[in-house]
Structures are given as C-alpha cells and as structure tokens.
C-alpha cells in the first residue's frame, strides 16, 4: 500500500511538472509560429487555463470506479505522445498549410493561411490543456480510492509546478533548447504512465509497456536532437 501511494505521489510530481512545462513550451512555440511573443505568453496562459477548466469539468462526467484509473493512464499516454510531438505537429502543419495555400494560389493577405495556422496551433494547446485539466481530479479520486485520508495530491501538484516554472527559463529554454525540452517532458509523462500503472494491488496490464515504450522514444528524440532540429528547420524554412 505504501509503495502504491509512493508511485501515485511520484506520478503526481511528474504530471504537475509536465503540465506547467507544456504551457510554457507552447507559449514559446506559438510565438515562433504566430509572432508577438509578449502577447503570446498571456493569451496562451489564458486559453490553456480555460482548457484546464473544461478538462476538470469533463472529468466529473467520466465513469466512476476503477475505470477512472484507466482513463488517467490513457491521458498520460496521450500527453506523452502529444508532448513529444509538439514541434513536429506544429511545424509540419504550418508547412502543409503553406504548401496548400501556394497550390491553391491563396494570397497571404487574405488571412486564410494565418487563420488555419492559428486554429491548428490552438487546437493542440486546447487538447493538451483539456487532457491536463482532467488529471488533478482523477488523481484525487485515485488517492481517495487507495485509502488516502489527507489529500497530498493538491499540494504536491503545486510544489512540482513551482519546480517546472523555475526550471523552464534556465534549464529548458536556454539550456536544453525547446526540442530537447519537449522530448524530455514527453519522457517524463511516459514514466508517469508507468508509475500510475503500478498504483493499486496489481499493475494495470498493457499500460506498463506503453509507458516504457514512450519513454524510450522520447530518449531517442532527445539523443538525436540535432537531426530532428535540422529536419524541422528544413521543413520550416
């Protein structure tokens, strides 16, 4: 039981770190794609938090009982995939939209390509925010189901968010770079999925392999950051 709660709280720390890191990463990526970094930070924060709220509300509509544990695992896996893929998704979509507009001879001044890029970029942000918003209510339910009397999930969530916010400008933004940062955060989400699959009296089958596999993929992306960066810039430029 203690080991199970340990996995739960460890996963909470990782999940909270990843959630704040996604928001800060997205703000930087969107300022690259859409320009205007000063405004971008505030509007990204606003839309992301709105999506968190919608996700939290939706979590209340999910099936009760053991199914919520599985939902949480699926959310972590989805976030791991999305998180690692943020740069590829954004820059790839932007290149596709640009090519489409050139093929259809749609002028840039019409605003159609800008609008499409905006929709795609914010669609990703809303998706990540929505999934992240479901996490804390589901974690609190899981903690209650495991017999936790005092909720530690909430304070750990905030404490880990602090670590994420402080480490972002120095470790991720100026240190690792955005690409490696995205890969790292995806790895952490994969690890959190693995840890959550160990919560409870028996590990949840199937999800352990997913968690390990995604973490491995993230590590590969991290290691081959140079090649990924070169490919992305060729697509982007």
């Amino acid at each position: 039981m203690r080991k199970s709660m340990g996995f739960l709280y460890g996963a909470t720390l990782l999940i909270a770190y990843c959630s704040i890191s996604y928001e800060l990463l997205l703000a930087q990526y969107l300022s690259v794609l859409l320009g205007n970094s000063i405004h971008r930070f505030t509007s990204t924060l606003g839309i992301y938090i709105f999506s968190l709220g919608v996700g939290a509300w939706w979590a209340g509509h999910l099936k009760e009982g053991g199914a919520r544990h599985r939902y949480l695992l699926r959310i972590e896996i989805a976030l791991s995939v999305l998180g690692m893929g943020i740069p590829f998704y954004l820059f790839g979509s932007e290149a596709l939209i640009r090519s489409f507009c050139e093929w259809k001879q749609i002028p840039f001044s019409s605003g159609i390509s800008t609008s499409l890029i905006w929709v795609v970029a914010h669609g990703l942000m809303v998706s990540i925010g929505f999934l992240s918003g479901m996490e804390v209510p589901l974690l609190m339910d899981l903690e209650k189901a495991q017999g936790g009397s005092t909720t530690w999930v909430l304070p750990l969530d905030y404490l880990s968010s602090f670590l994420g916010a402080v480490s972002f400008p120095l470790v991720i933004y100026l240190g690792m770079g955005l690409l490696s940062g995205s890969a790292m955060v995806g790895v952490l989400n994969g690890i959190s999925a693995w840890m959550l699959s160990r919560v409870g009296s028996e590990p949840v089958p199937g999800y352990t392999r997913w968690g390990i596999g995604l973490s491995g993929l993230g590590v590969l992306l991290w290691v081959f950051e140079g090649a990924s960066h070169g490919w992305l810039m060729r697509v982007f430029l």
Binding site: T42, G133, L159
Partner: protein, 513 residues
C-alpha cells in the same frame, strides 16, 4: 459560493500576474521573472494547502485570509516602487554589480508572490471544504470554476494596463475581489455593508491616484536622479539627491509621459527646459533628440558607402519613430521604403506633432509604406526582395526578443535581399566590463549564410554591416563623417549561434537598469 470561487481565483491570479509584469519590466527579463514569479506563487499555494490541512489550522477563517490578501494586494505596488526608488538612489552605479544587486532585490521581493501564494493555498483549501460541504466531493466542478476565474485574470492584466495606462490598477482590482469576499463572509451583501463596499471601491480609486504619484516619483528617480553633476540657473547640483530631498526636489522636473501599449511601455522624458527629449522602451534608451542624428545618419549612410550601391527599395524593421526613414528619404535613388513596426502606439506617436517636427513627417511620404506587424511574421510571409534591409530593434540583453536575432530569422532576411544587397543593424559590439565580444551574434550570422561582416561606429554607437555578395571594403575614414570602421573579433571554433529552438543569450553586457 460560486461567485466567491470565481472572485477568489480571479483576484489571486490578478495579483500574481501583475507582480510578474512589474518584475519583468523592472528587470527587463520577462521570460525569467514571469516564470519565476508564477513558480514561486504556485509553490506558495502548495505550502498553503499543506499548512491548511494540518489540524491546528482548521480554525482559521476564510474571512481572515481574505483580509490579508486584500492588504497585500493594496500594499505590493507602492512597496515595490519605493524599494526601486531606494535602489536607484543609493545602490545603483552603472556597473555590473548594480545589475546583480537589482536581481537580488527582486529575488527578495519574491516573498510577495510567496506570501500571496500561501494565503491563496489556505484560501483554496477553505473554499474546497465549503464547496464539499455544500455540493459533496466534486473536485472537477471546483477546479473548473477556479480555472475560469484565472482565465479572466490573464486577460484583465494586459487589457487594464493598456486601456487605463496603469500597472497598479490590476493590483487594486485583485484587492477589491478579496475585499468583496471578506464582506460577504462577515455580512450578507444586502444591507449596510452595501454602502461600506461602495466606500471600499471609492477608497481604491483614491489609492490608484496615490499609486500614480508613486509611479511618477519612481520614473523621475529613474530618469532624472542619476549619478551626475548638473548646473542650472547658476547653481551646481551633485546627484543623485537623497531620498527625502528628492521628494520635494522632483517637482522641479517635468513629468515623464508614459504609455502602455499592448507590446511595451513607452516613456518620453523631457529635459527641464522642455526643448529636448528622449524616448525609452521598457526603460531602455532608444533615442534622444540631442544625439539621434549621428546614430540614424550612420545607419543610413555608411552601409550605402561600403556597398557602393544606391538602393532603390529598402526594408526597415523596427524604427517606428521615423527618424531612420527621414535619413533614407534624403537619397534620391530611394523609390520605396517598407517600414515594419510591431507597435501601433509607437507609430501613432511618430505621426504625432512632437515626433513629426523632428522626423520631418517621414512616415507620411508617398514612398513609405508603413506596416504595423510583427517583423518575424512579415518577413516569414512575404517574398519581396530589397536592395537594403535595416534593423532597428531594441537589443535583446536578456532572453526576450532573441527570436529576431536568430539564425532562422537572418536566413529569412537573406531570402529578401536582392543580389549585392546588404543588411545593417545596430549592435553593441563591445560589452563593457563584463566581457564578451558578441561572438554569439557573429556565429549566428555565419550560420545564417553571412560569412563576412563589417563593424562601424559613430558617437559611441556600434553597428554591423553584412551581406552575401555585397562589397565589404570599408571606405577611407574621414574626420568629417565621424563614422569609423571597427575590427570585429574572430569567432572561436565551436561557438554556437542563437537558434530559434535553442536560444542563446547574445553576450552579457553591463546592465543599465
């Protein structure tokens, strides 16, 4: 219950975001201080929630927490301004030590978001308990409502600063929210307390007036009360004046005209006679009417001389004040200038009477096409080619604005150059006592396909000239022009440039804040 939830999160986030904004303005490093402030705030919330779970804290009332949040919201802005004034008078000295002292002071002031976060954490715990008592264990609805308040706060901070031209009003709005919840806890809304709430709101409006006075005192201290010896009316002044003397002496100096735009803070600082003035963006010096001619003339004229071309089409990025365009329009070969400026407020000032008298109405010239757009976005989505591209952005001393000095951005610019075209930009090529020689920027240019660059200076300002296949031989120096070439450092093997997805700070100059 629902309104309290919403107002609680709205007020708390208003407080945190306003703090982050003020800190990033004072330090000129938005990425670091916004991330740090939100992080410390979240840490405080975590501590507050943990502390609130302890049985010894079960008796603490929501009303008490709201009261403390109310007072911290009211007092934070004047406290920060006062401490900054003290720093500028007694601790600032135009050297690298001052920069670290300021960072230390702002780091110490992080106790404000920490304290606010702890109180917010206590508030969250108490509100959740009340929510559970009323509607059962439903964390999803609780967080949903809490997040919606936070969303509105994010948009309020930028909108209020822009619409009301004030940094302090969001603090007071946040305090008002907590004050409202306090009155709700103590008494129901209907009844005598309705009038007391009205008095509260009026009191806050009065406080905003006090904050505006405080802001002017801080701005005058920043711009006028600097280490210097001045002479006026036959009297010699040795500055900075001490704190208490400055309180009454600052009335002798003209008010600093401040404008909050969506993108930056613009300050117009006049001399005591009101004849000359200077423009600052986010506290960074941009131009002064006394010295701007030498700067803009050098940036316009020298690259043309080196390149041996008479450019017909010129792209100007930044320089929304119109002075650079004024110099370029003096050349008869120029047929078209496209000016891309991010901030419409800057363009509005540039077209106004004060600037137009100096820039000779350059932005109204038929050859000039003015575009209010992000330079990155414009360059990325247009294909027009130019004979010359001139950059006049605020230099990114910290991690903000690195995007416009990245390998990828310069690669885009390369595709906008005509054959034998050139790029010129204002760059601090020597970085003072803190060392460094801007190798990073040179490495960035090389990675972008500009293997060779030339440096030149005029009146203490330094510039870079570069291109792909343009001439690179500096002309013979003449005393008349006072524009001299300067030797650039060689880029060390393995120096990594500044890339879009892997940014690198462009040297680390002595800070002037």
């Amino acid at each position: 219950m629902f309104s309290s939830l919403f107002l609680a999160s709205y007020g708390s986030l208003l407080f945190e975001l306003s703090l982050a904004k003020v800190f990033s303005l004072l330090s000129d490093d938005g990425v670091l201080w916004e991330s740090l402030t939100i992080g410390v705030f979240l840490f405080g919330i975590g501590l507050g929630v943990l502390w609130g779970n302890r049985s010894s804290m079960q008796s603490i009332s929501l009303a008490s927490v709201e009261k403390y949040l109310f007072f911290i919201g009211l007092g934070s802005y004047p406290l920060i301004e006062f401490i900054h004034i003290y720093y500028r008078i007694y601790l600032f000295g135009f050297n690298a030590h001052s920069f670290w002292i300021l960072r230390g002071i702002l780091g110490a002031l992080e106790f404000l978001p920490l304290y606010g976060g702890v109180l917010t954490g206590l508030e969250v715990g108490l509100l959740y308990r009340r929510h559970t008592e009323i509607s059962g264990h439903r964390p999803s609805m609780f967080f949903c409502l809490y997040e919606f308040g936070a969303v509105l706060a994010a948009y309020t901070v930028t909108s209020v600063s822009y619409l009301c031209n004030s940094d302090s009003l969001p603090f007071l709005l946040g305090a008002l929210c907590h004050g409202w919840i306090y009155t709700q806890m103590k008494r129901p809304f209907w009844g005598l307390w309705k009038w007391k709430l009205a008095c509260l709101a009026l009191g806050i409006i009065g406080l905003e007036g006090g904050n505006r006075w405080m802001e002017q005192w801080q701005l005058k201290t920043f711009y006028y009360n600097q280490p210097q010896v001045t002479q006026r009316d036959g009297r010699v002044f040795i500055q900075p004046f001490g704190l208490w003397e400055w309180v009454w002496r600052q009335k002798e100096y003209p008010a600093v005209e401040r404008l909050h735009s969506h993108y930056q803070v613009l300050d117009l600082v006049s001399d005591t006679e009101g004849k000359e003035w200077a423009l600052y963006l986010n506290h960074h010096f941009q131009l002064s009417t006394e010295t701007e001619y030498a700067y803009h003339h050098a940036l316009a004229a020298y690259p043309m001389t080196v390149a041996h071309i008479a450019p017909k089409t010129i792209l100007v990025l930044g320089a929304g004040d119109g002075f650079l365009v004024r110099e370029l329009l003096k050349y008869p070969s120029v047929e078209k200038i496209v000016l891309v400026e991010l901030d419409p407020a800057m363009l509005e000032w540039a077209k106004g009477p004060r600037f137009s008298a100096r820039n000779e109405h350059s932005l109204f010239d038929s050859r000039v096409e003015v575009v209010a757009e992000d330079a990155w976005w414009w360059v990325r989505h247009h294909t027009e080619r130019f004979d010359a591209i001139l950059l006049d952005f605020p230099y990114p001393y910290g991690s903000d604005g690195l995007r416009l000095y990245s390998t990828e951005f310069f690669s885009f610019l390369r595709h906008h150059l005509q054959p034998r075209g050139y790029i010129a930009l204002d760059v601090p090529l020597w970085l003072g006592a803190s060392g460094g020689s801007n190798e990073v920027l040179l490495a960035t240019l090389q990675a972008a396909g500009f293997p060779h660059s030339l440096g030149f200076q005029s009146g203490g300002e330094t510039f870079l000239y570069t291109g792909v296949d343009c001439a690179m031989e500096p002309p013979p120096w003449t005393k008349q022009d006072m524009i001299t070439p300067i030797e650039l450092p060689s880029v060390s093997e393995g120096t990594r440039g500044n890339h879009l997805l892997h940014p690198r700070v462009l040297g680390f100059p002595d800070r002037l804040l």
